[in-house]
């Protein structure tokens, strides 16, 4: 009996040690796919990834409007990217289907497109190679600021995209294992309570 308990204990210790090693040393990654999209001017850019950071290449992308009508579709390139010109001023729902039951979606609200598109239209109307006048109007200043903000924010948008596709953390892993053992305790409690009642009835 003593020996059996000892070996069980060793097995348990081994189990937990291996979990710790796995959760800290291995690049954690798995089975989820993410699509991330943003508007720049009149184009929507998307990036698709599996949650381990591996790009979802050659995957189908579908774009739907507010009513659920499909506007266009296409395939991601070998970096998991796909871009398209905005076909219509509406809420866009971009759906990625990476095969084998992997699916993800991203929504772009109409307002976001309007903001980006509106600036662009104004720029087109005004002509692109204006010499900078001394007295800039309020609109023009706003336009310039938005333009450079777009450019400056691009790396941050990408960074956010990256942090979103990070795998689960050690806390979540250990939390999950804790849940399982908690459930084990609850299960044992109820099973034993049933048994005790039977014993009491027998007496």
């Amino acid at each position: 009996m003593e020996k059996r308990h000892k070996s069980t204990m060793y097995a348990l210790i081994l189990f937990f040690a291996s979990i710790l090693v796995i959760s800290t040393s291995l690049p954690v990654s798995a089975h989820k796919v993410i699509i991330f999209a943003w508007v720049e001017g009149d184009t929507v850019f998307t990036e698709s990834k599996f949650s381990g950071g591996r790009e979802a290449t050659d995957a189908q992308v579908f774009v739907f409007d507010k009513e659920g009508k499909q506007l266009l579709d296409g395939k991601t390139n070998n970096k998991g990217e796909f871009s398209f010109k905005i076909p219509k001023l509406t809420d866009l729902r971009i759906v990625l289907s990476a095969g084998m039951g992997h699916k993800a979606e991203w929504r772009i609200p109409e307002s976001e497109i309007k903001e980006a598109g509106g600036i662009l239209e104004k720029k087109r109307a005004g002509g692109s190679s204006q010499p900078i006048a001394v007295g800039l109007s309020k609109e023009e200043i706003k336009e310039l600021i938005e333009d450079s903000l777009d450019r400056k924010l691009r790396p941050i948008v990408r960074m956010m995209n990256k942090s979103q596709s990070k795998g689960p953390s050690v806390t979540e892993i250990l939390g999950g294992i804790g849940y399982i053992f908690g459930l084990m305790g609850v299960a044992i409690y109820f099973k034993n309570r049933g048994k005790k009642r039977e014993v009491n009835r027998d007496n």
């Binding site: 069980t8 039951g101 689960p168 294992i177 299960a187 044992i188 099973k191």
Partner: protein, 205 residues
């Protein structure tokens, strides 16, 4: 091999949920209180296994460990895998709550099949037979899971054969790795705790 939320149609989801509920009911009925810790340990092994990513092959694949779950637990692998999948869905966003039933059946049913095919062979004294059976159950459980995933996608993707082929090819490295892991687990248990291999329900020892 988790199927994401929003891929499957309602009839498939409901069928999966009903089958999973039946399997879990059978498992819970057969679960003695002294088996509960064993179920919990294997459940957490399954829970963590999905984080071990194998960067071989064309797609994103990870360990599953439904072979060893089924081999050691029989029908009890239904509750074990259900709990692990539910936590994976909540904590890691793998799969999802509505597809929980389908995913549970896809992972647990092959385990049960492997239990009936191999648990007697694994219990044999002859090392060669026992270890070959262990390897086969690790390999085949992943294979059957792939077939079941393709079956559940039958109504959404174009052709069963091409999807099944895609999944099986993507999981070839996993099948071999799972076979080896199951083999080592069984070899270890033979030495340390052979009574675990004698069938979970305590009828055969």
């Amino acid at each position: 091999m988790h199927i994401s939320e929003g891929v499957l149609s309602a009839p498939v989801l409901i069928t999966g949920a009903v089958l999973a509920a039946a399997g879990v009911a059978v498992g819970l009925k057969k679960m003695d209180s002294d088996k509960i810790p064993q179920v919990a340990v294997l459940s957490s092994a399954f829970f963590v296994a999905s984080l071990i990513h194998v960067p071989i092959g064309p797609s994103s694949v990870h360990l599953i460990l439904n072979g060893i779950n089924g081999l050691l637990l029989g029908w009890l692998c239904f509750p074990s895998i259900l709990v692990a999948l539910a936590l994976q869905a909540i904590l890691f966003q793998f799969g999802g709550i509505t597809v929980l039933g389908v995913n549970t059946v896809n992972m647990a049913l092959p385990g049960v099949i492997c239990y009936y095919l191999f648990s007697r062979l694994v219990n044999r004294e002859r090392r060669l037979i026992s270890l070959t059976a262990a390897f086969a159950s690790g390999l085949l459980s992943v294979f059957f899971s792939g077939i079941l995933v393709a079956l559940s996608l039958l109504f959404t993707e174009q052709s069963f054969i091409s999807v099944a082929k895609l999944i099986v090819v993507a999981h070839l490295p996993i099948m071999i790795i799972e076979g080896i892991i199951t083999l080592f687990c069984v070899a270890f248990l033979h030495r340390v705790k052979p009574e675990l291999l004698g069938g979970i329900y305590g009828e055969a020892t």
